[in-house]
Symmetry: C2
Subunit: 128 residues, 2 copies
């Protein structure tokens, strides 16, 4: 079974949930230090690793930052370069199509990272 979260993991998750977007590991570190005194980088990286393995947090590769997983199924990460908003967009067909395409090449995929930069609806003048 998926083990319960440790206290450090719980704290990091709460910080990420309270943020309105991804946070870098050192932003998390700073917050934890202001909360609880002496905290060092391994503490936050260990927590992030555990949360990632638990599937509740993911690294946004193109931002070198960390965010809560908002979708039960893996989504496309859409990042607005204007306002910084990050959304996970479900795109089952895209993932499946990619799976097929790679399988045709004999490639057995284990993990897909799909991140897209651009401008969100709000920032383009917004047709919603």
């Amino acid at each position: 079974m998926g083990a319960a979260l440790t206290p450090n993991e719980t704290e990091v998750l709460a910080l990420l949930r309270g943020a309105n977007g991804p946070m870098t590991a050192y932003q998390l570190l700073g917050r934890m230090q202001r909360n609880g005194g002496a905290v060092a980088p391994p503490t936050v990286y260990r927590a992030l690793k555990g949360l990632e393995e638990a599937g509740v947090v993911q690294r946004i590769e193109t931002l070198r930052a960390w965010a809560v997983v908002t979708s039960p199924v893996p989504g496309v990460v859409a990042i607005c370069d204007d306002c910084g908003a990050v959304r996970s967009v479900e795109a089952q067909g895209v993932f499946e199509g990619l799976h097929q395409r790679l399988a045709a090449e004999g490639f057995a995929e284990a993990r897909q990272t799909i991140e897209v930069h651009g401008r969100c609806g709000d920032c383009t003048g917004g047709q919603t």
Copy 2:
């Protein structure tokens, strides 16, 4: 027109072309130092930036490394976690499907990063 490459860019590109896979910026730096004496990080990062803007080099985000662009059209980067091989696989339908999906959300995409980790055909016991 796309400006000609500078000497530093040319050197970095030659190193990447001579490698059998992505290289980190500091691997490139080490090579350049062995070739030409005093070289500092900004030299290689500047060259990488120029090459990236020229479209001949790309950063592999999930590897924090740099590789030559092998496909005229953007491809899916397939990374074998076993042997380290990195291939760019054309998947026009995937990119287009993703484009459509995001457009439907009002998101105007500018840059897609699609990287997949797994095992290549050679490493799975290889049906080619």
